[in-house]
């Protein structure tokens, strides 16, 4: 079955969504995990805390992945009715929203995570405060995710 233009645009949106969000998440998680390994090398009791801080920047990739799946399901690529060109352009907007939002948020959260790992390994009482500071850069990804959902709903893609 040949793809129509609208569905092809939605495919680009899906790629941008998961690609950029995963890039930010991957860089952030790489930074956090290298700090986690450093902490565990000095103090094996840091494994659990290191793992928690390393896992946090995963969320951006999940948001991107969810939006990409929704785009693929509702754009006709995986069956169903194909999208029009207008909805296809909306899909690119949705993908860009969650993708670029996730890119910045993931990297920021990775830096905050690694700093928190350093603070906790220096003073274990810093765990809760570190977690709060690390959670803050999540908001940019949430904004991107919410806007992407709104675009999908009101752009005529979800439920199309």
């Amino acid at each position: 079955m040949a793809l129509v233009l609208g569905s092809a645009l939605a495919a680009i949106g899906a790629g941008v969504a998961v690609g950029f969000a995963a890039l930010g998440s991957g860089i952030g998680q790489g930074i956090a995990s290298s700090a986690g390994v450093g902490a565990v090398a000095e103090d094996s009791g840091m494994f659990a805390q290191g793992l928690v801080f390393t896992a946090i920047p995963e969320t951006q990739a999940i948001y991107g992945f969810l939006i990409a799946i929704l785009l693929l399901v509702f754009s006709g690529i995986m069956g169903g009715s194909p999208l029009g060109v207008t909805s296809g352009l909306v899909a690119i907007g949705a993908g860009a929203a969650v993708g670029f939002g996730g890119l910045g948020s993931g990297m920021g959260q990775g830096i905050a995570s690694s700093a928190s790992v350093g603070a906790v390994v220096e003073d274990p009482d810093m765990f809760a405060q570190g977690l709060v500071f690390t959670a803050i850069p999540e908001t940019q990804a949430i904004y991107g995710f919410l806007i992407a959902i709104l675009l999908l709903v009101f752009g005529g893609i979800l439920g199309a």
Partner: protein, 385 residues
Amino acid sequence: MEESILDLITSFGFSSPEAFIALLVMVLAVIGAIVVVITIRPLLEYYPYTYPNARIRAKIGKILSDKQITELAETENLDEVKNYLRGHRDYAKYIDQYPIEQALDANLAESYDTLAKVAPGTLKPTFDILLDQWDIKNIKSVLVAKEAQLNEEETRELLVPYGVLKDDHDKMIEANTVQELIVALEGTPYAKVLEEALPDYNENKTLLTLESALDNYYYERLLVKSSSQEDENTRMLHSYVGTKIDIATLKIILRAKADGLAYDQIKPYVINRGYKLRDWKVKELMESEDLNSLLSSIESSEYGSVVADHIPEFNETNSIAVFDEALDAYERKMADNIFKKKPFGIGPIVGFINKKETEIKNLKVIARSKRGPVLPSSEIKEMLL
């Protein structure tokens, strides 16, 4: 709506919607690449420090707090100090193996060893040289031991079990004269350094001649190797290391002038080059007629404000320890500033070096105070940094 978009695409001169998609993909790819490059660039400087900084901060967390140091100062005797340190894993492994001061040096050397292993590539040359301080210290200990005619076992107790020459300690200890020590050090740069200083030593028979030659060699290499201008982190490490060297020079000259020594008497023992103290300035300081003219000369240097603020206190106490403390405080403040300014870069490394050295200095003060007739804890606390 869809038709109007297709019309718009056609009006732009695209032959088909597919051509428009191709252009759209290319534009998105270019925008994406620009965004990625712009956002990732700052991370490239930070990334090499994430692993080492986590390890260093773990070590900072293990440094004894002010409360713990106070508790140690209040112990009854040296055995209590040792028992206290046995409760800390990093010290426990050395306390029963070596005399207390050597155990403390071993702990400090181990810290430097870890730093040299985990430091990012741009800092490696500096940390490799910093490790040489243990070789220098051990060579100096062997020289002192030979002059004091200590036996092999007593000499061994003075050596710190770290440094590049760790496996050559037996050869060094077996040497009976400076000439034999030079032979034992054959193949290392220290043989040449000692050989060049040997004529002066033979003339004045003062070990300080050989010790100064070793110090000069170490500090000059440290300044050269740390002078990489690769990024802000290497520049900050260079400024910290350079300031430490300047402070060491100033302390030597201050003490020498307080003892009334002249230029010719000081020169062999002063580090030839400094960081902010240029060669001509060091010469000017050494040529000062007395302590007052030295203080005036320092006031016109980069360290003027550090010394000037403490001249009234010096006039009251007539003790140059006032300036020693002021210079030490300046170094600690500088390390603290770097720690705050570069928390994701060189900051924790410099902060750790300073905190660890301060801890070891304090522990040595406490250990010495407990060795002979035990000093009151209030007096010990006054001596702590």
